[in-house]
């Protein structure tokens, strides 16, 4: 069954975070008055089940003290988010207030259990009633900016494609999905996490063929590279940035781009 997609009437920013406190302690029914319909619908049932299962698993396995474990399902979640929302117009996919509805209302427990700091997660597992979660974070008045980025995101490319808890999942699949390969690259976008971090924050990947070629080449050469892929990935991404100082990246085809990518 399709669900109406909403957005907040106002975009939350670091500057108006005190307004967020008002919403933290409110019941979901009260939050409705601050929302407006986007005019779009989506079937979120499967995604909701997947993310709810993640929260249950996170509580059961105490992932709050294991950052790596918490991120292992990002690839799978990315595909699920994209499958549910791939039909939405681009204007909505770039709308921070829409993503904020997903992270603060619809999937707020997922956002908290994926990104919140250990202390609050422990509190949540013991007092997990439905509206206690955000209240607890609010009590921890110094919301760490890293978590805040995951919770409210922002309009910049970095915030949308790389930081916000839900939009990052959507955009990695949007960049890496192709008719020919389906979601095979997207599923691996977060293993390791460095790939998404190094690639999806860079403007040149908005020419999607670059992101796909980079991920494909990494997948192919992974076994011949050092086990810790962080340095090779960062170095290759940086070298591409330098090359594109004088080269018009959007002019190149897959083969040209592949020649420019060097993980060694």
């Amino acid at each position: 069954m399709n669900t109406t997609l909403y957005r907040f009437k106002k975009v939350f920013e670091k500057g108006n975070i005190n307004e967020l406190k008002d919403y933290y302690v409110k019941d979901n029914n009260d939050i409705q008055e601050h929302l407006e319909s986007t005019g779009e619908e989506a079937d979120l049932n499967e995604l909701e089940t997947i993310l709810d299962d993640y929260v249950k698993e996170s509580i059961k396995n105490k992932w709050y003290n294991n950052v790596q474990e918490r991120g292992k399902k990002d690839g799978q979640h990315s595909v699920a988010v994209h499958k549910a929302l791939k039909h939405i117009p681009r204007q909505l996919a770039c709308d921070t207030s829409f993503w904020q509805w997903l992270s603060l209302v619809k999937f707020r427990r997922y956002t908290i259990f994926r990104w919140c700091d250990i202390k609050n997660q422990i509190k949540l597992t013991s007092k997990a009633d439905s509206h206690r979660d955000l209240e607890l974070i609010e009590q921890d008045s110094n919301i760490p900016s890293s978590f805040l980025n995951r919770l409210i995101g922002g309009s910049s490319m970095k915030h949308t494609t790389s930081l916000h808890s839900i939009s990052r999942l959507f955009w990695s699949s949007e960049y890496l999905y192709s008719e020919t390969d389906g979601y095979s690259l997207a599923e691996d976008a977060y293993s390791p996490q460095d790939l998404a971090q190094a690639l999806l924050q860079r403007r040149y990947t908005q020419h999607y063929i670059i992101a796909r070629t980079f991920a494909t080449k990494l997948k192919r050469e992974k076994n011949s590279l050092p086990k810790d892929l962080k340095k090779p990935i960062q170095s290759a991404a940086r070298k591409l940035s330098l090359a594109f100082a004088t080269i018009n990246s959007d002019y190149l085809d897959k083969k040209d781009i592949e020649d420019l990518i060097n993980f060694n």
């Binding site: 975070i17 309009s155 908005q206 018009n248």
Partner: protein, 344 residues
């Protein structure tokens, strides 16, 4: 530094001329990009049409057409989309491309630029472009604005900045007699013009002094986008200082005005007092909710009117303002970055 110095080979940038025709016909104007650079642009967000056909015409004489190709680069950073379109040659020196933009596919500013690029690889040699796709020339950018710029509360981003020589009243190459009052501020960095507001943002205009000392001017005119060098970090501190002082002045002016209207016998309701404010004052107060602590968001205007009308709560608002502003503008973090920079 001229952009040409970035290229290790000569470019023909000066020869590239991009012109645009739109259907429906839309008047172009000067709009400022994120770096406050004035560019030729088209405001499309308030136009009723759902799509716009743009004809791009590029003129570039005397180029070796067997080596180079003329392309139109469409860069929609906020739409997370980029396109590169090959132009059709319509005669010896003129190229053409038409593209239809649908409103629902684009967000924010989309920058259009004509680029002359190398068609294929050729034997490497010092001083020439030899890699496929290397830019041999580029035109001035044209901006299509698909969504109205959303301004950030308390950040100073919504202020329209103009460079004026305070000493001579010169602005955009001509003397503006309306700006003679700036002469008494000839040694200052900036001045706020409360009597003139930007028609778009509805905020008072802010003038930067073209006649300020060289060091400050170089910092403020530095167009680098990043915030990594000592210079750009210092620039951030200077921007922060100006934004902070200007925002403080605007909020204080608006609060004082609201307080005055609330105490007037004619205004028995907060609604009337609010309606008596200047449009920029309303705008400032509406966007300053993050700076005004303890004012509930649910009934913001009413609560704010009540708070300014009582001495105790008004003093509290004003007292907390400098600290809220520092937090909002992240002043301490900005300064820390400069202090941590070597060789600054």
């Amino acid at each position: 530094m001229s952009k040409n110095f970035e290229y290790p080979y000569p470019t023909h940038t000066h020869k590239l001329n991009l012109s645009v025709k739109s259907e429906p016909v839309i008047e172009s104007g000067t709009i400022q990009d994120d770096d406050q650079l004035p560019l030729v642009g088209y405001d499309l967000y308030d136009n009723k049409a759902e799509s716009f056909k743009f004809n791009f015409l590029v003129n570039c004489p005397s180029i070796d057409k067997s080596l180079y190709e003329m392309v139109i680069n469409i860069n929609g950073t906020q739409s997370f989309a980029r396109l590169n379109l090959s132009c059709e040659k319509i005669n010896n020196d003129d190229y053409h491309f038409a593209y239809e933009f649908s409103k629902k596919d684009w967000v924010g500013d989309v920058k259009i630029q004509a680029l002359l690029v190398l068609k294929d690889y050729r034997t490497p040699s010092i001083g020439i472009a030899f890699k496929k796709g290397q830019k041999y020339g580029y035109s001035k950018e044209i901006v299509l604005r698909f969504t109205e710029r959303k301004e950030t509360s308390g950040s100073g981003k919504n202020l329209k900045i103009s460079w004026v020589d305070f000493k001579t009243s010169m602005c955009d190459g001509r003397v503006d007699s309306k700006l003679k009052w700036l002469k008494k501020h000839k040694n200052d960095l900036y001045a706020i013009d409360y009597d003139n507001e930007d028609p778009k943002s509805k905020f008072p205009l802010v003038y930067l002094n073209e006649n300020m000392d060289r060091a400050h001017k170089e910092l403020l005119k530095n167009r680098r986008r990043d915030n990594k060098t000592a210079q750009t970090k210092k620039r951030a501190v200077l921007f922060n200082k100006i934004a902070s002082e200007v925002t403080m002045s605007l909020v204080m002016e608006a609060l004082t005005s609201l307080r005055k209207h609330m105490s007037s016998d004619d205004n028995d309701t907060s609604e009337k007092a609010w309606a008596d404010l200047e449009s920029w004052e309303m705008n400032v107060l509406e966007q300053s909710s993050s700076l005004l602590e303890d004012i509930s968001q649910t009934n913001y205007k009413d609560e704010l009117c009540k708070a300014v009308d009582q001495d105790r709560s008004y003093k509290k608002l004003v007292k907390n303002l400098p600290n809220k502003l520092q937090q909002t503008l992240q002043s301490s973090a900005t300064l820390k970055k400069v202090l941590q920079t070597r060789n600054n």
